[in-house]
């Protein structure tokens, strides 16, 4: 069965744009933390403005998902992790990522609301939040095998990894080489692990069935 409702395509395109914007916000955050003296006003401002723009496209993604009649998602599916009958695990990761993102945004904008150390740790959790969003996009996304979407996802992951290694790790390397070497290795291994999982899962035929698409929505063989 194939949806021919425009909201289904809005949902998918807005989801991909949200992942890309989230990546841009992450890279700007890394640049701000790793190069505090380089254009602080511009980089911090761009980080904040793009974070708010991400909320707009993320909101469009969620609203389109609720109103699109194809996957039959309701408010509970998009607010309660793993409650959905449609690709529940992968959709649930998107919900968790949205909560992490909301926490990071609401404690930073319009003003910082936590003590500095708690705020920094909450912001660091967004590395995981971003990764969870990428895995959600690969696992739930109906367009993983679409060449354009795949290229954009690979570009997003590559730019986040390069920014982390070239800016954050390079800047902190001298302070504690072992810790940052370990973090660099972990980031590379996580990226490789995600790529291997994607190649063996979402990029394979039959993923729609194994990812938990309800039987009535699957195309007849």
């Amino acid at each position: 069965m194939t949806s021919t409702n425009p909201l289904w395509f809005v949902d998918r395109s807005a989801g991909e744009v949200t992942v890309l914007l989230l990546t841009a916000v992450l890279v700007l955050g890394i640049a701000r933390a790793g190069m505090p003296a380089a254009y602080p006003f511009v980089i911090e401002g761009a980080h904040r403005n793009l974070a708010l723009l991400t909320v707009v496209f993320g909101g469009l993604h969620v609203v389109a998902a609720i109103f699109d009649p194809y996957a039959r998602l309701g408010p509970i599916d998009v607010f309660v992790p793993f409650a959905s009958a449609y690709r529940g695990t992968w959709l649930g990761l998107g919900v968790i990522s949205a909560y992490l993102y909301a926490a990071a945004t609401l404690t930073s904008w319009p003003a910082r609301r936590l003590p500095r150390s708690s705020w920094v740790w909450l912001h660091r959790v967004m590395y995981a939040g971003w990764l969870i969003a990428v895995i959600h996009s690969l696992g739930t996304g109906s367009d993983v095998r679409n060449a354009v979407f795949l290229f954009l996802n690979v570009a997003a992951v590559a730019s986040a990894l390069i920014a982390f290694l070239a800016i954050r790790v390079a800047e902190r390397w001298t302070t504690s080489p072992r810790l940052w070497a370990a973090l660099a290795i972990v980031s590379v291994l996580v990226t490789l692990g995600t790529a291997i999982w994607a190649a063996g899962g979402p990029l394979q035929p039959g993923w729609a069935r194994s990812s938990g698409t309800p039987a009535n929505l699957l195309k007849s063989p």
């Binding site: 021919t4 395509f9 401002g45 761009a46 793009l50 367009d143 679409n146």
Partner: protein, 102 residues
């Protein structure tokens, strides 16, 4: 001898101070440009991915029909009609019977 207040170093300092005072305004303009460009690019990419996802899944013909019927649904007076609907004869026109070609 140069007059007090007109020494080269004072001039240089004044120029540097002016440059420093100007910087936030310049940077604000750069930030505004970055934000607007990203917002426009994101909206454009969203539209492009919308089309790409539609074309990939249901093909050009059906996707065109989907867009036309959506526009027709939203703006019934826009003059667009989905291709699946037969054209209606103008008032007073005589119906012409057609047969299949040989």
């Amino acid at each position: 001898m140069s007059e007090p207040g007109h020494e080269p170093w004072r001039e240089a300092m004044r120029a540097e101070e002016q440059r420093r005072r100007r910087r936030p305004a310049d940077q604000r303009a750069v930030l505004r440009r970055i934000t607007i460009t990203t917002a426009v690019a994101a909206a454009g990419l969203n539209a492009a991915l919308f089309v790409q996802a539609g074309l990939e899944q249901i093909g050009p013909g059906d996707f065109q029909n989907l867009i036309v019927s959506t526009v027709y649904g939203l703006f019934p007076g826009a003059g667009l009609q989905p291709a699946s609907q037969a054209p209606t004869p103008s008032p007073g026109a005589k119906a012409v019977a057609t047969t299949g070609g040989s």
